[in-house]
């Protein structure tokens, strides 16, 4: 089973893209839900988002990402697995920097990059009006969204098979680009 990760800053349209992929490819793909959303919407105590809170949340998220991906590998007959964010993304939020993150997780950036056959990066839309801040889980504003997006762009940059979806395109065009990319992977 091939494994694709869909990542990018907040409000890039990842969840919508996943729904479109599911509608388009049906049983050919298995979706893996975002661990961070699971943990936070489940009620992880964010409190004041102190470094201690972030560290423990990211420990759980990293572990959960691995478990959810393993579960999809074991239980699905799909030819492609599409993951809503990957194990690497946690490094971007880690208070003590990416290197410390991978050390704390007893892993390395290379080992985590190698988990995925392809990466799709979706950035937040450049126009302010399109930024959707209204979810229960999202706490960032637009400027922070771009900062996080840049960090995510950077941390995945060594992946050999990455599609960075142009951020200025309209969402339909973005969805088309993603669909073609996934189609290509399924057919290979």
């Amino acid at each position: 089973m091939k494994k694709i990760v869909l990542t990018g800053g907040p409000s890039g349209g990842k969840t919508t893209a996943l729904s479109i992929l599911k509608e388009t490819f049906g049983k050919k793909i298995a979706l893996v839900q975002e661990a961070a959303t699971l943990i936070y919407s489940g009620g992880f105590p964010r409190t004041d988002n102190s470094p201690i809170h972030i560290v423990h949340a990211q420990n759980i998220i990293f572990y959960t990402v691995h478990q959810l991906e393993e579960l999809a590998e074991k239980t699905s007959d799909a030819s492609v697995m599409v993951c809503d964010r990957g194990s690497i993304d946690g490094a971007v939020y880690w208070p003590y920097g990416p290197e410390n993150f991978f050390e704390a997780m007893h892993s390395s950036l290379e080992a985590e990059l190698a988990r995925y056959d392809a990466v799709i990066h979706l950035s937040p839309p450049p126009e302010k009006e399109s930024y959707q801040q209204v979810t229960n889980v999202r706490t960032e504003n637009l400027q922070q969204a771009f900062e996080i997006d840049d960090k995510i762009l950077k941390i995945w940059e060594k992946h050999p098979n990455r599609l960075v979806v142009p951020r200025e395109k309209h969402y339909f065009e973005k969805a088309e680009i993603i669909k073609n990319f996934v189609e290509n992977l399924i057919e290979k």
């Binding site: 839900q33 959303t37 699971l38 943990i39 936070y40 919407s41 489940g42 009620g43 992880f44 105590p45 409190t47 102190s50 201690i52 809170h53 423990h56 420990n59 759980i60 572990y63 959960t64 478990q67 959810l68 393993e70 579960l71 074991k74 239980t75």
Partner: protein, 191 residues
């Protein structure tokens, strides 16, 4: 004063969540609550699907790990005298398809080590009167299953040296009183 940690456990619908609220109301900043990892994972949307073996194993692994992390968070962050945990690491073993021994082996730990994490255990059993049984969005068991799970939880914690068991016979006010007194005593012993 050394911070103490107790696990509040027992079968489904035994009043754990209510007891936690009562403890918080009674002792205020002296107690810090740690929420139940299983509720967090399942209400957060863990894909239960058909509750196949693979699904249960993945869920319980995450629950075990998240329980440890949230307890560590409370220990590092809170200055409360007492940490009260909505269920403990040991509880996941009860749901593990290949049995208790295999669970601790897979988690690279032992029952003894996990029991030693807690200074005391409060066990609340489900009400014996079915009229008091409440279903929730997260709860999937019926009353008979609730008692089966309760039995298994009773058994797995039985070697803990400091456990209070509150049966399902008492009314909730009596239960709450017993719990309050138990915690009160723990806090006083701690002075």
């Amino acid at each position: 004063m050394k911070q103490k940690k107790i696990a509040l456990t027992g079968g489904p619908n035994s009043g754990k969540t209510t007891a936690l609220s009562v403890l918080k109301e009674t002792f205020g900043p002296r107690v810090e609550l740690v929420r139940e990892a299983a509720t967090m994972i399942f209400s957060g949307g863990f894909p239960r699907q058909d509750n196949s073996r693979a699904h249960i194993e993945a869920a319980q692994k995450i629950i075990f790990m998240a329980t440890r992390e949230m307890e560590a968070l409370a220990e590092e962050y809170s200055h409360a005298d007492l940490i009260v945990c909505d269920r403990g690491t040991v509880d996941a073993a009860v749901y593990w398809p290949a049995g208790v021994d295999d669970f601790f082996k897979q988690m690279h730990t032992t029952l003894g080590e996990e029991l030693a994490r807690y200074d005391a255990v409060l066990h609340l059993s489900p009400p014996t009167n079915p009229a008091f049984y409440q279903s929730t969005n997260v709860r999937t068991e019926n009353l008979r299953q609730a008692f089966e799970i309760d039995e298994r939880i009773l058994k797995i914690w039985e070697k803990h040296p400091h456990r209070l068991i509150i049966t399902g016979k008492e009314h909730f006010f009596e239960k709450a009183e017993l719990i309050k007194n138990f915690v009160d005593k723990l806090l006083k012993d701690n002075l």
